[in-house]
């Protein structure tokens, strides 16, 4: 077991973990942040996307010990004072989610994209979401939502 400290959604969390524990399971099962989902086992689907020091990463492919001393933002940390983050709001308004399972990862990937490129074109959005799979929407409204959020 190793002692680590991760700042999660602004709170410093200290815990003991086995080296083999993946960040996503530490978030979900140790810290109770079940918003981040797991949908594959091959780093393909992006459902588990969180921000690590502000950039999108797949939390299924990071050991929790690798996040020691770093800042993690999950879907639970986006809304502020009861107000949805502009990307969340845009997903709501543009119907960018159906079953909702890919949504937290998709939203986090979009937040990361807009952090790097404030005004992406439709094709830039599509390319930037290449690592996030959705089975419900056909992506049309997801892309629309990201464009909308960028315009806010």
């Amino acid at each position: 077991m190793r002692e680590i400290a991760i700042t999660v959604n602004g709170d410093r969390r200290e815990l003991e973990v086995e080296p083999r524990e993946l960040l996503v399971y530490v978030l979900r099962e140790r810290l109770g942040l079940t918003g981040t989902n797991v949908a594959c086992d091959t780093t393909s689907c992006g459902a588990c996307t969180v921000l690590l020091d502000g950039e999108s990463v797949k939390s299924c492919t990071l050991l929790a010990v690798q996040a020691d001393g770093r800042e993690v933002t999950t879907i639970e940390g986006l809304a502020e004072n009861g107000h949805l983050h502009p990307v969340q709001q845009a997903f709501h308004e543009q119907h960018g989610l159906q079953c909702g399972y890919c949504t937290p990862g998709m939203v986090m990937a979009a937040v990361s994209l807009l952090g790097e490129n404030a005004n992406p074109s439709e094709s830039e959005i599509r390319e930037a979401l290449e690592g996030n799979l959705c089975r419900c929407t056909g992506y049309v409204n997801i892309v629309k939502a990201v464009r909308h959020a960028a315009a806010v």
């Binding site: 989902n37 709501h92 119907h95 909702g100 056909g138």
Partner: protein, 785 residues
């Protein structure tokens, strides 16, 4: 997000009620649920497609850290009250093998469960499962549909002496042999519907919670069918139905793959009861590829008879379908859900259909989005294009010449299409596309001999939604009914609970059902709460599949709302001291004709609750239930057009435009309907271009992860241009038809027809799905040589 400022009535794009929790990471998916004392189950699965199980040594697993129990199939065999359910014995002589949750003597596909362990944590259960030592004697396996029917083929179930499961025929209209004899032109086509893996984003999961003192069990399952699961799992596990509660919490997509009753659900119940512990199992993606049912997988032979002018007179179809290794809940019936619609949207005289089910040593097949109708649409739409090629006619012109134009219309297969206007959808789609401009560009590229050629493909489909009239299901030997139930409960404070027996997994029931109730009863959209997916809260239901929630569930809801209005009217008449006939009703308010004296449904709910002054004989409280059994299917239809760019050097086919014009009847929420269509299109396009469950000759799945099972991302797909035409269904209280599967049903042939259209001048007339770059390249090479 608390107060809705948007329009919310029928026909408005009301913002979704589901979103607030899902967007903030507060969904209740099974893996998000934790119970005190919860233990984890892990399954040991056969690495062989067929093997005798000689011995299962659990000793090392049992001794491993954190393990509380481990069982082989033989250990559990006597504890089952019945086999896993198979609810659709399509013929009297069907071969239906016994199917227990854990195999006892023989494993019959890679992924077949052979042992199970229960441990304190997810990781320890996984570690222990690796320590189970199974002594297998590998046996020859069969993984090809036609090889399975060959003489001397290895038998999946030796007791039957054959791999044939059943043969089911259907005939209708005029004599098909005569029509073929008299035809000027015939086409005979053979297509392969590749095996697909449904892959909802949320893999399956199970959490079973026992109350040992009473024998009650609650099963949380990522399922589309909590009600059907309750009935069938009671039969399989022996837990009395009255003591079994099944809950489908938030479910992260299903697409038919969770229209199933799975070994892990039965195991969860059985082991929770046996061990007196809450037991949880969460499927991993690579496990899902093996252990969750697959879809499609059939050989289709279709022939058309036609006149030289292009009038199709008869359709003859023969299907040979892989069942996989066992019959799951509707495995045999799934291909038959398309049996009536291989004639497509076309006015034909004679129809002949035959389907044979075949066992193979593979994951069982069952319903996958569209179930039967995508296959049918693919076959007829491709065959119509083949006929157009033969007659050198434009595929649009040929379709127009054959459209059914009069409704209702009893089609040759015997069912009645309720309503439609197929030319209207085609006209609108051509207009959006600018057909002439696309053909011009295509001609220019051909002229120049560009490496990248353009193709345009059509699919003018009709499908049947809304499973199903119970009497028809009875005739077809399906074990259950097709009705649906709804309850409306007007609470004394003015808010309303809606209970629906349908169970959403992304389709937005919370929103659309609330829209209709708010509209009809004059209550605020925000004041309507829709409950579903819990057999203790909603005891009556037949669940969600086959685009039935709107077509059947919403009809039940409308009937319940009529009952509420009727009772409310009695209370209003009594309070306002007038006869019921003196009241007019509009949007939740009763008004005494010609006066300003009114009473609302909301007010009547309070009056019904305190019950101080109700009409004689009227029961207190305002709550009504309706159970609706449809009189017919509903028949969405439309035109989908794909434009692809095919790189004739690399074989890469790129979808560049997609136009869809659908007629789904009355639309409750346009934004949600568009979303259903768009998602469906992506799935159908994925079948055409990317997805395939590939097995090697020994029965190993080679595409068992999302690295090699190619679900497309946003980067692979274009925007979809969707629009609608509307003819109302005369059989539905709102005129709605259903929309959950149209996109998937329509899109696959549009894309393949487009690929073939692009390659036509090179002499290519056939391509197998998915149309991979390699297949396209080989088709071109073959046509050249």
């Amino acid at each position: 997000m608390a107060v809705t400022e948007h329009e919310t009535g029928i026909g408005a794009s009301a913002p979704r009620k589901e979103d607030a929790r899902l967007l903030q990471g507060q969904g209740s998916y099974v893996d998000n649920l934790t119970l005190p004392g919860m233990h984890w189950m892990a399954l040991v699965r056969s690495p062989h497609a067929r093997a005798r199980i000689k011995n299962v040594d659990l000793s090392k697993a049992k001794a491993a850290e954190g393990v509380v129990a481990a069982f082989s199939g033989a250990d559990l065999e006597d504890g089952w009250a019945g086999p896993l359910p198979m609810a659709w014995p399509v013929t009297d002589d069907i071969n239906n093998p016994p199917h227990l949750p854990v195999a006892t003597t023989e494993a019959r596909y890679v992924g077949d469960a052979v042992a199970v362990v229960v441990a304190e944590t997810r990781a320890l259960a996984k570690d222990a499962a690796e320590l189970v030592e199974v002594d297998y004697e590998p046996l020859p396996a069969v993984v090809d549909i036609e090889a399975a029917l060959a003489d001397g083929a290895p038998l999946v179930h030796e007791e039957f002496g054959t791999n044939r499961c059943y043969t089911w025929p259907l005939k209708g209209g005029e004599d098909v042999d005569e029509l073929f004899k008299g035809a000027d032109v015939t086409v005979e086509e053979r297509y392969r519907q590749q095996r697909l893996i449904p892959n909802p984003m949320e893999p399956r999961g199970v959490l079973a919670q026992p109350v040992t003192a009473t024998g009650e069990i609650t099963l949380y399952s990522s399922t589309q069918i909590p009600h059907i699961a309750r009935v069938t799992l009671a039969l399989a596990t022996g837990v009395p139905e009255s003591k079994l509660r099944v809950v489908a919490p938030d479910v992260g997509g299903g697409f038919g793959s969770k229209l199933q009753v799975y070994p892990e659900e039965a195991l969860g119940i059985a082991l929770a009861a046996k061990l007196g512990l809450p037991v949880k199992w969460i499927e991993e993606r690579s496990e899902n590829a093996l252990a969750t049912h697959h879809g499609r997988d059939m050989i289709q032979e279709i022939s058309l008879a036609a006149t030289k002018e292009g009038k199709i007179t008869a359709v003859r179809v023969r299907l040979t379908v892989s069942m996989g290794a066992y019959l799951m809940i509707i495995t045999p019936g799934t291909p038959l859900l398309g049996a009536w619609v291989y004639g497509g949207a076309y006015d034909i005289k004679g129809y002949e259909f035959e389907c044979s089910g075949v066992f193979t040593n593979q994951t069982p097949t069952d319903a996958y989005r569209g179930a039967g109708r995508p296959e049918a649409t693919y076959a007829i739409e491709r065959a119509v294009d083949a006929l157009a090629r033969k007659l050198e006619m434009d595929p649009v012109e040929l379709r127009r010449k054959n459209f059914i134009t009069e409704f209702p219309n009893t089609i040759a297969s015997g069912l009645e299409i309720d309503s439609g206007d197929y030319n209207a959808a085609l006209d609108r789609a051509l207009e959006i596309l600018d057909y002439d401009a696309v053909r011009r560009e295509q001609a220019e590229r051909r002229e120049r001999g560009d490496a990248k050629q353009l193709g345009v493909g059509f699919s003018t489909y009709v499908e049947m939604c809304g499973l199903a009239p119970s009497r028809i299901l009875g005739v077809l030997k399906y074990a259950a009914g097709g009705w649906e139930a709804a309850t409306i409960r007007c609470l004394p404070t003015g808010t309303v609970q809606v209970l629906t027996g349908t169970t959403p997994h992304g389709q937005s029931h919370d929103t659309t059902f609330a829209q209709v109730v708010a509209d009809r009863l004059g209550v605020d959209y925000d004041d309507v709460e829709v409950l579903h997916g819990d057999t203790s809260i909603v005891p009556l239901g037949m669940d969600t599949y086959g685009s039935r929630s709107l077509a059947i569930g919403m009809a039940a809801l409308c009937n319940a709302s009529d009952k509420i209005v009727a009772k409310s009217k009695k209370i209003a008449a009594h309070s306002l001291e007038v006869a019921e006939d003196d009241l007019e009703y509009d949007g939740g308010t009763f008004r005494v004709r010609g006066t300003d004296r009114t009473m609302t449904v909301k007010e009547s709910a309070f009056a019904a609750w305190h019950a101080h002054d109700l009409p004689d004989g009227l029961e207190p409280t305002l709550e009504e239930t309706a159970v609706y059994d449809p009189s017919n299917f509903s028949w969405p239809a439309g035109t989908h057009i794909a434009v692809v760019e095919v790189d004739t050097e690399t074989g890469a086919a790129d979808l560049v435009r997609y136009v869809a014009v659908d007629d789904v009847g009355t639309v409750i929420n346009p934004q949600i309907v568009d979303g259903q269509v768009q998602g469906g299109i992506a799935q159908g396009v994925a079948q055409a271009l990317w997805e395939e469950a590939v097995y090697d000759d020994s029965g190993n799945l080679l595409t068992g992860s999302l690295v090699n099972y190619l679900m497309p991302s946003a980067a692979e797909l274009p925007d979809f241009e969707v629009d609608r035409t509307t003819t109302e269904s005369p059989n539905h209280p709102l005129g709605a038809k259903g929309v959950g599967e149209t996109g998937t049903i329509a899109s696959t042939p549009a894309v393949i027809n487009a690929v073939l259209d692009a390659l036509g001048p090179l002499g290519v007339t056939d391509i197998a799905m998915p149309a991979t770059p390699e297949r396209v390249w080989r088709a071109i090479e073959e046509a050249r040589s």
